[in-house]
C-alpha cells in the first residue's frame, strides 16, 4: 500500500523541543516520514494523549526533514501556540512519543530548469521555505529570500537566512528588525533586481493574496502554500477546502490537504475565501443540510 511517495502513520519520539521567538520548534524521530518528505509537505500530529478530548489532528509544514542523522531520520516543524492542542504540544519534551502522519499534501514544484527564484515567508510561514531554498540551490537556482512579520519576535529563521539564500530582505511592520513595512513593499524591487522567474510563498492568506497578485503583475508565476484549518489532513473530512480554478478554468472547492497545500497563486480565488463562489462547480441554491 505505501509507496515511498505515500504517507505513513508512525509513533515518533520527540528528539528536541524549544522556543524560537514567539514560536516553537519540535523535532521528532520519524525516519519513514523524513525519507519521503518533499519541501512544502506537512505532517499531522495527534494531540492531547490517548485519552484526549481533542479529536482532531494538528497540521504543520515541515521545516526540515533529515533522512540521516544519529536518530535515523528526523522531521522538524515550527508552530505557534493558538489553542489547547498546540499548548499541549508545547509541553512535550525529549523522549515523549507522538503519533505522526506524513508526509502529506503536494509540495512546491521546482522549475524545470534553473531560474532565479524568490521565496517569500510571513511569520512562521517561512519554515517550509528553508528546505525549498536548499533544494533549489542544489538544482542551480539563485534564491532570494524575503522574510516578514509584524515584529522581530514573530520573524522566523532570520538568523539562518544568510546561509540559506543568495540574498535576504527582512521586513517588520514595526521596524524592529530590517526594513519597516511588509514583504510586498520590497517584493517588486527583489523581483526586478533578481529577474525572478518563479515566486514561492508561505504565510497568512492575506499575504499570499498580495504576493500572488504582485507576482502576476510582474509576469512571474507563483506557488503559494496555504494554511486552512483541517480535521484529518488526509483528505477524508472535507473541511479544508477553498475555491480554486482548475486546468479547465472551472472553479471547484478543493481540499488544501491533498490537492494543496501548495497551489499556483493565480489559480486560487483569494478574494472569495470563506465563500462558495456562485460559479463554482456544484454551487447551488442555499439548502439547509442537517448532517453530512
Amino acid at each position: 500500500m505505501n509507496g515511498r511517495s505515500g504517507p505513513v502513520q508512525v509513533p515518533a519520539e520527540v528528539v528536541a523541543a524549544s522556543r524560537a521567538g514567539a514560536y516553537h520548534r519540535l523535532t521528532v524521530a520519524a525516519p519513514a516520514v523524513a525519507v519521503r518528505a518533499l519541501p512544502g509537505q506537512f505532517i499531522a500530529l495527534a494531540v492531547g494523549g490517548p485519552a484526549s478530548a481533542l479529536l482532531l489532528r494538528r497540521a504543520f509544514a515541515i521545516h526540515r526533514a533529515d533522512p540521516g542523522g544519529p536518530q535515523g531520520g528526523t522531521v522538524e516543524v515550527v508552530y505557534a501556540v493558538r489553542g489547547r492542542g498546540t499548548r499541549w504540544l508545547a509541553q512535550r519534551v525529549a523522549g515523549d512519543s507522538l503519533d505522526v502522519v506524513g508526509p502529506l499534501g503536494r509540495g512546491f514544484t521546482p522549475p524545470p530548469a534553473p531560474l532565479p527564484c524568490t521565496l517569500v515567508g510571513g511569520g512562521y510561514g517561512s519554515a517550509p521555505l528553508f528546505p525549498l531554498a536548499a533544494a533549489l540551490r542544489a538544482d542551480g537556482c539563485r534564491v532570494d529570500l524575503v522574510l516578514g512579520a509584524a515584529s522581530a519576535d514573530r520573524l522566523f529563521g532570520a538568523a539562518d537566512a544568510e546561509g540559506a539564500a543568495d540574498a535576504v530582505r527582512v521586513t517588520t511592520e514595526d521596524g524592529s528588525v530590517g526594513e519597516r513595512g511588509r514583504v510586498t513593499d520590497v517584493l517588486p524591487d527583489v523581483l526586478r533586481r533578481s529577474a525572478a522567474g518563479a515566486v514561492y510563498a508561505c504565510g497568512p492568506m492575506g499575504m499570499l493574496a498580495a504576493v500572488s497578485a504582485l507576482s502576476a503583475a510582474y509576469g512571474v508565476p507563483s506557488q503559494c502554500a496555504v494554511e486552512e484549518s483541517m480535521a484529518c489532513g488526509i483528505g477524508v473530512c472535507m473541511t479544508c477546502v477553498l475555491p480554486v480554478r482548475g486546468d479547465d478554468g472551472m472553479t471547484r472547492m478543493v481540499r488544501s490537504c491533498v490537492e494543496g497545500p501548495v497551489f499556483p497563486g493565480e489559480r486560487v480565488r483569494w478574494d472569495d475565501g470563506g465563500t462558495v463562489p456562485a460559479d463554482t462547480v456544484g454551487a447551488g441554491p442555499a439548502l439547509r443540510v442537517v448532517a453530512g
Binding site: S229, I234, G235, C237, V241, V290, G292
Partner: protein, 337 residues
Amino acid sequence: MSRVDPSQVDLATQLAGVELANPVLTASGCAAAGRELHQFFDIALLGAVVTKSVMLHPRAGRPTPRMAETASGMLNSIGLQGPGVDAFCRHDLPWLVERGARAVVSIAGHTIDEYAELARRLRAAGGVTAVEVNISCPNVEHRGEVFSCDPVAAAGVVAAVRRETAPDVPVLAKLSPDVTDIVAVARACVDAGADGLCLINTLLGMAIDTDTMRPVLAAGTGGLSGPAIRPVAVRCVYQVHAALPGVPIVGMGGVVTGVDALELMLAGACAVSVGTATFADSSAPMRILTELRQVLAERGVHRVADIVGAAHRPPGEPAVTEPKRSALPAERRVGRS
C-alpha cells in the same frame, strides 16, 4: 468466563442477509470512498466501506469554516460536497470493487424522486453491497423539513429506494437522533421496506467564538459527532433494538476503541461504523477491529454474533454460554483440560 484465543473469535456478522467478514465498517462522510484510508491499511479487510453520501449532481458544499472542535467531539457543516452519482459510479465504485472491498453506498437527495433516481443509477452500476439512505436532508417539497424527522416523509423515501434497488441488495435507513421518538421513525422505515437501520447520524449543534462573538461555523449550525454523542447512540440503538428486535442495526456514534464497538453491539447493533475517530487516527477502523477481537476474546466470546443485543437479557442470565466442547478445535480441548 474462560478466555478465548483472539485468533479463534468468529467475527462474521449478518447484515440484512449479507454476510460480512467482520462487523467494523467506516461511517459515511468519514472515509470518502476508501482511497485515502487505503494508504494506511487494506480497506478490503473491513466488514464494508460506507461511502460518503452521494447526490444526483456535483455539489460544492458549504463555505468555510466547516468544522469546529468541541469537547470530545466536533461540529461539521460540509454540505454534502461531492462529485455526483455519475462520477462516483465511474471512478469510486469500480475502485472499491477492484480492491475486493464491500461497498455500502450512501445516497442523499432533496426529493423522493432524486432518491429513486440515485437508487436506479446504483442498480445500473452494480457492485453495491447495500444502499444506505441518508434521510437527514431537507425535503424541498415539504418546506425544507428534514425527511428523518417525519415518519411519513422518511417512509416515502425508503419505499422509493427499496422499489428501485435490486431485491438482493439491502436498503438501510440512516436515522437522525434529533427526534422525540426514534422508534416511531424506525418503525415507519421498516414498514416501508427498510431491511436495516443505521443509528445514529450527527446531532445538530452549534459553537460560538467568544472572541469574535459570532458562530464558529459559516453555516451557523453543524452536526455533532465523536465520543461526546456515544451515549446517545447507545440509547438509540438500545431503544430501537428493544422495539424491533429482528431488524439489523448498524451502530455508530463516537466509536474510538474496540470496547466502544462492543458497547454498541451489546445494545443491539450487528455491525458498527467508525467515523470521527478516523480523523484523529487514520488507521482507526483497522485498529478498532483488532481491539474488538481482543476484547471479545477476553470476555470468552467465541462468536461476535452471540453478543448482539446481549444488554437486553434479563438480569442474572449469562451473556455468553460456553459452546459444546466438541465444537472447539482439538488443541483448545487439550489446553483446557
